[in-house]
């Protein structure tokens, strides 16, 4: 973990509820995709934990969903503004298990950390399944494609791509006889549970899942975000947010 001041260079709307922010500063604290940063906002006591979408040279990209007062105020920040940020929090994804055919599954606001993951998986034949509620909420499909990954979109209302959830898109691939070496996922908990059931339990593919929890500090001090696993109690902010399918107690 590192504390640093970052200067906003870009802050724009991607969809009606999703925003992208870029900021420059010392990114040396970031070690793996799937890690997050914790942002101090004026007028709010606790920091806002947000996953890292991309980090290169001296620039961090985050993509955030406007959910409450904090994220709402973030949309008002303009280039040049300075933010107090803790970087390099959490364990992140372990890419050494990816194999040659990794599968990335992202749902809604859980998609951002998979971008850096896909970018780091340079030597693999990567498939990305992105799930949205509807066409209007789709973002970042082109960006994933530019990385050379195959992207499959699923929308719950069928307005674009596969009609249904990410697990429906996965089933289509399996029915075509496709196999995968490992999976990485992030998204809302109902999606994670469905992925755990279909991809890990039923299809027998091991993977790594990124979890969300209300946090106090974000760096392991307050025990606010603890969860039970097969490997004992873990703090989502410190030993997580990424847990392996084998250790999840579902």
């Amino acid at each position: 973990m590192k504390q640093g001041f970052f200067t906003i260079t870009e802050n724009r709307k991607l969809t009606p509820t999703t925003w992208l922010m870029r900021m420059t500063g010392d990114v040396s604290g970031i070690r793996a995709p799937g890690q997050f940063i914790n942002i101090k906002l004026n007028g709010h006591f606790l920091r806002r934990p947000i996953s890292i979408s991309d980090a290169r040279k001296d620039c961090i990209t985050i993509i955030y969903k406007v959910l409450g007062h904090g994220t709402e105020e973030m949309t008002c920040l303009t280039p040049g503004a300075e933010l107090d940020v803790l970087t390099g929090l959490g364990n992140g994804y372990d890419l050494s298990d990816a194999g040659d055919r990794p599968l990335l599954i992202g749902g809604g606001v859980g998609i951002p950390p998979l971008y850096l993951t896909a970018r780091c998986l340079t030597n693999a034949d990567t498939t990305v399944i992105l799930g949205f509620n509807s066409k209007e909420e789709i973002y970042y499909v082109d960006e994933f494609e530019k990385l050379g990954a195959r992207v499959i979109v699923a929308t719950a209302d069928g307005s674009c791509g596969v009609r249904g959830f990410v697990t429906d898109a996965f089933r289509e691939l399996v029915n075509k006889g496709e196999t995968f070496t490992h999976f990485y996922t992030c998204g809302p908990e109902p999606m994670l549970r469905a992925v755990y059931e279909r991809v890990y339990e039923k299809a027998g593919i091991s993977g790594q899942m990124s979890f969300e929890e209300r946090m106090g500090c974000g760096f392991g001090a307050c025990m606010g975000c603890s969860t039970k696993t097969r490997n004992g109690n873990k703090r989502i902010c410190k030993e997580g947010p990424v847990l392996r399918t084998e250790e999840i107690l579902w």
């Binding site: 006591f45 929890e213 209300r214 603890s226």
Partner: protein, 298 residues
């Protein structure tokens, strides 16, 4: 040159700044960020006899100028603390540490103190801070700190187990905190620390349900600072043993205010969670703040 040293129950500490229990783990995580030997001391995570997972999540809710927590005394249990946590701490912290002890019965408080006091790492411990004020557990914790008779029973039970100073950590969720403090003093407590968190709650507007899985939690942060100051002031007048002030302390100026209210030392809690360097910064700023307000020593 100002002198930041203070005497805390017979042990001189370099400065009165003490990270509070539950906001500083067992220290070594903060030691990765800065040399924690700059602190007066710190109070480690509340330790019970058996390992505890604590309450279900969500355990955290934000509030104006503060936060609610309902962690519920998650800790690995006293034997693991002795075997794993304190040896790890010993490598990075070379001052007496404050051992924070919690329990669900007077016997449990006594047994935890006994095991710590007779352990191979007992030399590391300078003081016992007995938490009779946790608002987030049922059938223990705060129930001992809201009744002067029960508080006295806990003091009596742990008093037998150690010669080290015993500091009783009190709850603000009472009608008259000075009555509890006096009861602790009468039974031989060496010091009082206050305040633990104030009970509160918040609702999720979308679901209409409480945010915290435990329904209620403890409020901390700058929001509680004036309440804490008032209670420290009242308690310091009511007893003749040292009082440690805590509750929303976030700056060197807050430390000075606590000392003006009668505290001999000050614990820093929620501030550590927002800024991991908060306690170090307070230690750094304190001499300048003292000089600014014409304070040579405490």
């Amino acid at each position: 040159m100002v002198d930041t040293k203070v005497d805390l129950c017979g042990i001189t500490i370099d400065n009165p700044v003490i990270p509070a229990s539950g906001t500083f783990g067992y220290g070594y995580e903060f030691a990765e960020l800065y040399d924690i030997n700059c602190l007066g001391t710190f109070s480690f995570k509340g330790t019970t006899l058996d390992p505890r997972f604590g309450n279900d999540t969500p355990r955290i809710a934000e509030c104006p100028s503060g936060m609610l927590n309902s962690v519920g005394l998650q800790n690995p249990g006293v034997d693991d603390v002795i075997r794993e946590e304190l040896p790890k701490l010993e490598r990075v912290f070379h001052k007496p540490v404050m051992a924070n002890v919690s329990g669900f019965s007077t016997d449990e408080y006594a047994e935890v103190v006994k095991r710590l006091d007779r352990s191979a790492v007992s030399d590391m411990i300078g003081w016992y801070e007995i938490n009779i004020s946790c608002p987030n557990v049922h059938g223990g914790g705060m129930s001992f700190g809201t009744d002067p008779k029960m508080a006295a029973e806990v003091v009596k039970a742990v008093r037998w187990m150690t010669d080290k100073p015993i500091i009783m950590k009190l709850s603000p969720n009472v009608t008259d905190i000075t009555e509890i403090a006096r009861a602790c003093e009468t039974e031989g407590a060496d010091g009082i620390s206050l305040i633990n968190t104030l009970m509160g709650m918040r609702f999720n507007l979308r679901t209409g349900k409480p945010i915290l899985a435990n329904v209620t939690g403890g409020l901390s942060g700058p929001a509680v600072f004036p309440v804490a100051l008032r209670m420290v002031y009242q308690t310091a007048k009511a007893v003749n043993i040292p009082v440690i002030g805590m509750g929303g302390v976030s700056s060197a100026e807050d430390v000075l205010e606590m000392m003006m209210a009668g505290a001999v030392a000050v614990e820093v809690g929620a501030a550590n969670l927002v800024d991991p360097y908060a306690s170090r910064n307070i230690v750094r700023d304190l001499p300048y703040a003292m000089k600014k307000y014409g304070i040579d020593s405490f």
